[in-house]
Symmetry: C2
Subunit: 447 residues, 2 copies
Amino acid sequence: MQNTENHHQLFLHQSQQLIEVHSFERLAELFSENHPADIASLISSLPQNIREQIWQLVPEEMSGEVLNEIDDSIRSSLLGEMETAQVISALSSLDEDEQADLLQDIPERTEEILQGMDFDRRQRLEAVLYYPEDVAGGLMDLDTIAVRADVSVGVVLRYLHKLSSIPESTNKLFVTDRKGVYRGQLFITSLLTHDHDTMVEALLQNGGSISANTPAQEAAEIFAKLDLISLAVVDDKNILLGRITVDDIVDFLRDSNQNSMLKLAGTTNEDAFSSVLKSSQYRALWLGINLITALLASWVILEFQEAIDKLVALAVLMPIVASMGGIAGSQTLSVIIRSLALGQLRKGNKVWMLRKEIGIGLLNGILWAIMVSSIAFWWFSSSLLSITIGVAVFINLVVATSSGVIVPLIMQRLDIDPAISGGVILTTITDVVGFFSFLGLASLLIL
Amino acid sequence: MQNTENHHQLFLHQSQQLIEVHSFERLAELFSENHPADIASLISSLPQNIREQIWQLVPEEMSGEVLNEIDDSIRSSLLGEMETAQVISALSSLDEDEQADLLQDIPERTEEILQGMDFDRRQRLEAVLYYPEDVAGGLMDLDTIAVRADVSVGVVLRYLHKLSSIPESTNKLFVTDRKGVYRGQLFITSLLTHDHDTMVEALLQNGGSISANTPAQEAAEIFAKLDLISLAVVDDKNILLGRITVDDIVDFLRDSNQNSMLKLAGTTNEDAFSSVLKSSQYRALWLGINLITALLASWVILEFQEAIDKLVALAVLMPIVASMGGIAGSQTLSVIIRSLALGQLRKGNKVWMLRKEIGIGLLNGILWAIMVSSIAFWWFSSSLLSITIGVAVFINLVVATSSGVIVPLIMQRLDIDPAISGGVILTTITDVVGFFSFLGLASLLIL
C-alpha cells in the first residue's frame, strides 16, 4: 500500500515524464486511475500553452471534481472552452456550493447553464446561488438528513439503513419540526451508543446553527473554535436551509491563506503559470499606483532641492528616515489587521490599542533616533545634522505606529479591505512624513 | 434559541460590562455557562494587566480547553503563573496533540510536568511529544478505534455500543492486523447502510494513511484535496500510531493564515495586547535589520555624492527607481512563495518560471521606463536625465523579477522560510541596484 503523500509525488513525476514524451494515451489512462485532486494539482502547475491540451485528456466523469480543485484563476479559462452541455454534466458530480463556485467564475453563462438543467436540480442550485460566495449561505450544500424529535433511535437507524449511501461528512443529523424549523442536532455516534428505544428528543442537542447571511470568515472562526465537522444553516425564520461541512471551511481557509500574501503585493488571484502578457497586465496596476505614491515622495524632495544642493549629505541620509518609518508602520498594520480579522478589536479597546502603539512609537522612536543619529555623526561629523536626523526618525516612527492603527480602522469603516491597500497608504504616509520632517528640519536648523 | 454567532457577540458584550463594573463573581458564573472558546476569545483581547486577573475566574475544569484556544503568545504567560498540579489537571481534558502543544510553550517545565502524571498518561503523551509540532506526528491524537477485517458489521456495532462514548470527529474506524499494521479504513456511515452479517473485509477501503514525519503543511494540503475528516498516522513500518482530525488542520491553517502577514512584517507571534515594552522589544529586531540594509543603500548614495552635488535632480528622482523595483520584486516573490507552498514548483518548471518572470520584467520594464522617463522629462526638461532614469528603471525591474524567483529558491534550498526574510533581502537588492544603476549611469552619461 502506498502512503497518501508518496502517491501524489509519484503521480506528478509519472505524468511529467509522459508529457515530455507526448504519450497522451497513457496519460489519460493514468488520470482515470488517480484522484481528481492530483490531476488538478498537475494541471495547475503546467504552463498555459500545454495546459489546455492536457485538460482534454481528463475523463469526462472526473472533470467536475478536477475543476472544483483547481485555482479560480485557471478555472475560468478552462470553463471558457467548454460547451454548455459539458459544463452541466461536469457540475452534476458536485455539491451545490461547489457548483455555485464554478458558475460564479463564468457569470455571463450562468443563466444559460441553469436553463439547461432539469427543474429540480436548478431549484436546488438557485437556493445556494442566491447567496454571495463569501457568506455562510454560499458555502452550504443541501445534503442534510433531517429527522423529527418524537421518533426512536431504532426508527432513525432503520431509515438510514434504507438510504443506499449517506452524504460525505455526515457526522450529525438535524432535528426539525413539521414546518422545517430547526430544533437541534443529533450526533451519529450517539445513535450508535444508545439503545434502539431511546427517543431522539433525549439525545437532541441544542444550538449548532448559523444564519445564512453570516460572513464566511466568521463561519470559519466558529468551526475552528468549536471543532465542528458540519453546521446547520438557517434562514431568518430559523428554517433549516442546508449545512456547511468542514471541507468547505478548509478550502476557504487555504484559499485565503494563499491569497493574503498576494493581496499585500497586489497580485490577487494571479495564476502563477499564466502567460507573460497576462501576468504583466495584472501587476501593472499596482506598479502604477506605486508610481503615483513615489512621485508624491519625490515632489516633497523637489520642494527641498535647495537644501540638498547646499548639503548633499541630506540626500544620502534621507532614505533611512523613510525606510525606518515604513517598517515600523507595517509592523503595527499587520498586528492590527490580524486583530481585526480575529474580531479582537472592539469599541472598548480601540483607544487602548492606539495609546499602546503610540507608546511603542515613542519608545522605539527614542531608541532608533539615538542609533541613527550616532551613525550619522560618525559618517559626517556634524552634530546639527545628527540631531536633525534623530528628531526626524523619532517623528516618523510615532506617526508610523499611530497611522498603523488609524488607517486600517478607517478603511474598515469604509468597507475597504485593509490587507489589500493598507500597506501602500501607510508607506506613502511614512515616505512623505519622513522626507518632509528630515528635509524641513534641516532647512530650519542647519541652513 | 440563539444563533451561534449572536451568542458569541452577546457573551463578549456582557463580559465587558461586568469587567467595567468589577462584578467578578457574576463574570465567573457567566464563564461557567459558556464555551471555552468564547472565554479564550475574551481573554485574548484584554490588556495584559487585567488579563491575569480575569484568567483566575475561569472554572478549573474549563482551564485546559480555554488555554488550548488561546494564542501561543498569550498562553505561555498564563501557563507560567500556574503550579504543576494545576497544569496537569488542566491538560487532562485535552487530546494528546493539544497537550503537547501546550507543553511546548513551557519547555523548561515539560519534564517536571510529565513526571507528575501517571504512567499510562505520560506514555501516551510522550508518543506525540516525540514528534515536532510541524509534522503529522505532532498533530495526531491517539483516540483511534481499530478493528480487524475478519469480523462482521454486527460485531463492530455491538463493540461500539459498549463504548459509553465515541471520540469526537470519529467518522471512520481503522482496520489493522494482529500486529497493529494498518490495512485500511472503515466508514461509520457504511456500517449504518449495510447488513449486520456483512464482513468488514468487504467494506474496507485501502489508503488513507500518512507517515508521522510528513510536514504539517503537506498534511493540510491532503486534507483539503481529499475533503477528509480524519486520517490514520503510521510509522515507517506502517504500524498505526494515531490519527489526525480535521479540527487540528483547521486550527493549523487558521494560525498560519494569521501568522503569514505578521511574518512579512517581522512581528511573528506578537500578542497584540501585550505591554508596550514587550512589543517594542519584538519589533526592535526587525527595525535593526532594516537599518542595516538602509545603511547599505545610503552607502551606495554616498559613493555618488559628487554626482548629486552637481545635479540635485538625481536626489529627487532616485527614490522612484528604488521603489518601482521593490514593488516588482515583491510581486514576483509572493507568487513564487505561494507556488512553493502549494508544491507547484518542481525541477521540470523552475527554469520555465524564471524565464517567465524575466519576460515580465522586460515587458513591464519597457512600459514603466517610458512612463517614468516621460515624467522626468516633463519635470526637468533634460533628455539625458530622462534617458538615464528610464534605463535605470528598466534594469531594476528585470533584476527585481529575476531575484524574486532566485532568492526564495535559494532560501528554500538553505531551509530558511522565504516568507520571513525574503522581502527584506529582496528590497535590499532592489534598493542597492536601483540607486547604483541610476546614479552610476548618471555619472557616466550626464556629468
